[in-house]
Each structure stands twice: as C-alpha cells, then as structure tokens.
Amino acid sequence: MSEVILLKRSDYLSTVEARHQEGYIYLADLTCVDYLNDHTRAMEDGVQLERFELVVNLRSFAPPAIIRLRVQIPEGNPVAPSIFALYPGAEAMEREVYDLFGVRFENHPDLTRILLPEDWEGHPLRKDYGVGRVPVQFKEVKRNR
C-alpha cells in the first residue's frame, strides 16, 4: 500500500530532504527496531542490513500519500543525523528512540532521556536488555535492598 524504501545511513538526510521538497511535509512517525542476532538479514535491494533500523513514516497531504524509510544503523556506531531542522516534530520522537534504543542523533537540539529518569542505565527496548528482574533505579534509592 505504502512505498517502502531501504536506505543506507549516508543516504538518509539527502533522501529526506528530497522527499520534503516533493511535498512529504508531515512526519507521521519515527521509531526504531533492534534486529539483534537476526541472521536472516543480510542484503536487500543492495543495502547491507544492520542491527538497528530507523523507521520513518512521512506523509504528503496533497495528494494523500505515505512513504516509509527504513534506515540501517550499524551496531558499532549507533548514530544517525537528526531531521529536526526539516521536521521540528521529530524532537520528541528522536528523544524517545535515543532513550529506549540508545541511537544518538547528530544536531538534535536536546538529546536527553524523555520517558525514563535521567540517571537510568541502559536502553530497555534493545533486545539484549534483560527483562524479569526488578529494575528500580530511581534517585536516592539504595540498590542493595
């Protein structure tokens, strides 16, 4: 139904800029997926698939259309350019991705944790973040209780 485009990280910003010019002026959603140890992922459409995938949904109002960009972010250096300058609405969404996945955004005006406390350790939506323990990490709470 909607167009899906796989992208290398280096093509991300230029593609977004080109689409913005075409009329995709509304950022519907920006999120991330952690494909840890997914060995079925290798190469698709000439793009090397990496551990993190940034998923960006852009909308055009006239004509009504939606496209989805899937940007590959390597595990060793999880950094992506911020699209805040084109879409100011990306601010909270990129902060959420940083908070829960640990993907950093370059040129973001305020890259801090948004949902979790500022002194939280780890990024919970990563697949290797353990669940099943009691991760209460609030301020001034002793860890050894």
Partner: protein, 450 residues
Amino acid sequence: MSNSIYTVVRPDGDNRFGLAQETSEGLQELGERSATTAAALAKESGVTLRIPEGEAELEGDSDDGRMIINMGPQHPSTHGVLRIMLEIEGETVLRSKPVVGYLHTGMEKTAENLTYLQGTTNVTRMDYLSPLNNELVFCLAAESLLGIELPERATWIRMLMSELNRIASHVMWLATNGMDLGSTSMMIFGFRDREMVLSFFEKASGLRMNNNYIRVGGVAADLPDGWEDDVTAIIDTIEARTSDYDELITGQPIFRERVVGVGVMSPEEAVALSASGPILRASGVPWDLRKEMPYLFYDQLDFDVIVGSVGDTYDRYAVRLFEIRESISIVRQILERMPSGPYRTLDPKVTPPPRARIDESMEALIHHFKLFTEGIRIPPGESYVAIESPRGELGCYMVSDGSARPFRMHIRGPSFVNLQSLPVMLHGGMLADAVAVISSVDPVMGEVDR
C-alpha cells in the same frame, strides 16, 4: 545614522512611528541584530525550554525577573501526571518544556512477550479514554500482515464502536475542559453522558473500559440483542444534549473570555510539529485520516471534516463539539447499513472453531489446541497502520518474525506528539491561560508515557 537594517527612521526622514528624532543619545533606533546576545534571542524567539528536568533555576543572572516554575505532575488541570516547566516573566509565559515519563511502564517491551490475543489487552490500556481505537489499530496492523479479509459485519461493528468511543472521549473532554475553566456543571453533564456510552460497551463486551473487544480477526462477540435501540437512545440523547451544551458554553461570555484568542497555533506550525487530530484541524488544516486515507468502510460514509480558522483554544473546543455531531451522524448511517453475517473471520488459523466442531473434527481439535497453546502465527513482515483516534493520528508499527508474538510493536501516540505543540501555544500567553491551553490539547498520559 548607522546602517542598521532595523532602523525605524526611513531614509527620506519620514518618522513613521513617532519616535523622537533627536535625543541626547542621537537617533532612537534598534541596534544590529547581531548585537543581541544568545540568551536574549532565545528568550525572544525560542518557545521550547531545553534545560535538564532536575534544574530549578535558569543559567546566568536571574535579576531580569525570569523564573522557572513547575506545573505538575500533581496539578489537577494536567489530566494525569504531566509536568510542565514554565519560564515566566511576571505573569507572562516565555518558554516551556513538557516533562513526561512518570507513567512509563514499558508497554512496547511488554508487547514483545504477549501473543496477538493478549496484545489487545495491553494496547487498550494506553489511551484509556478511547480503548477501542487502540485495539482497532493493533488489530489492523496484525491483519495487514496476516492478509485476511474480514466479514463485512465485523468491520461495521468496529466502525460503530470506534465512533461511539469518539463520542465518549469528546464528551469526556468537554467535561474535563469545563472543570478546568470553572464550569463544574459541565463536568457532571459530561461524565453522565459518557456513562451512557460506557454502559453500552459493558453490555457488548462485558467491560466499561479497557474492553478488549476488538480482536485480531474480528470482534470478541456479536452485538447484544436490541443493540439498535440502545444505540439510538444514546445518540438521540447526546445529540439533544450537545445543543444544550452549545447553549451553555459557546456563547457564554466568561468561557469566551478564557478561550478566544488564547493559545494560537498557525497551520504551518501545526504541520511542522506533526500535530494531528482536532489540534491540526482547529489550525485550519483539513486533514482527517477517515476522509483522506480511508480505512475500514469510512469511504462509504457521508460526513464532514470539521476545520477551524484561527487555531486558538476556542477553535479546538468547537472542532470537538462538532465532531461529536459528525460521529452521531456516522453512527446513524451505520445503524441503517449494518449487514448480517459472521462477526469474525472464519479462517481456522485465526479464529478458534465452535465448541461442537471439536467433538467431530480432528482438524478443529488441532486448530483449537494450537490457537490456545501457541496463539496466532503471523507471517514475517513489517507494517505501519494509522487511524484517526479522538486525539489524532494513532499509528501502530508492527514487525513480525513469523512467530506468535510481535517482534516489535510501536504505538505512535497522538498525545505524545501533540504535547510538542504546547510550548508554541503557551508562548507569550498568561500563566492563568496555561490551564485552558493544556486542557485544549487533551493529552492522555497513559498514551504519552506508554
């Protein structure tokens, strides 16, 4: 005369602004833009405060009268646990920062460990004022990966429930907005009307809220006997009462004084900040997913998209009030067109067989066993589905790896994104108006924090 581009005295000597031509300090004109310090510039043009959450004071000198105050997270007008850091100068709000996360329980992580049958019980708790819309978007995302066709009746029932939920949510908003602006009677009226809709939900699904009624493959149960009469009674009553509320609130001078011209947001700002729903439409952008990118059978219905013109708090009120009437008209059309037939798909891989079939068919027994021990298996793929919830674009991004649990489930919460517009609306307004503006955004914190 300096070469400042901001000089107010024109070259021909025309003193347009009536400023003194000659003073002891020379001509009175504005200085170079570059002479403005960064701190002063931020104060003037920035709307979003970007300081750490734990910070209580502004950097630099505090002699200029600016100070930070925290509104919430326990403030009664913040509809939950929203905290807003406000930079104020006297009574005027300069920059602000919504601080969220107090209700974060990691529901997207939880969803990765729940089957598709359990998944709806999880998402329904996000936006607790429109639970059926949350279930709907989750199921539409799962079904888009499954690639199954739903029986017509299931889709019409979903639309009926979704629109009734929109009415309940907007009526609830009228109630809380009334309370925030000092109209206690509106609060009681709103809750009374919402209760009628919730009673019908209870009759249909067994629960007033967090219904878990819409499921992957259809709905949980057929509509109860006599549902037409119940629904007709609800919409007739609420329609008559919206006229009363119109009379009670719309023209009332005290209400208008609080909302007209307060918290204005331009359409360009609304689009840039990814605002959606009544906020985007109140700013004058005629964008409604039901109309522009129809899902379910909304393309077969006749309804209007309500659009504001100024983008102030009053417009956001008016858009919601008229949307109640549009939803009532949609429900009337659904009442006329509701087809008969099965209320969930007959695909044995999705819907468990009827009890009687298990005794006579080995395959039915196997399907029954597999569905209840393992769950529905969804083919690998990824999909983004968005619907128009009462608060705006509610999206669900789902990735499946072929197992019975989603590999990743992300909800694009309209409240979460809409909160970014708050600093724009609050900028330059009075501190007392902040309550009216926050209320007009209608944030549901369960969905913001997830």
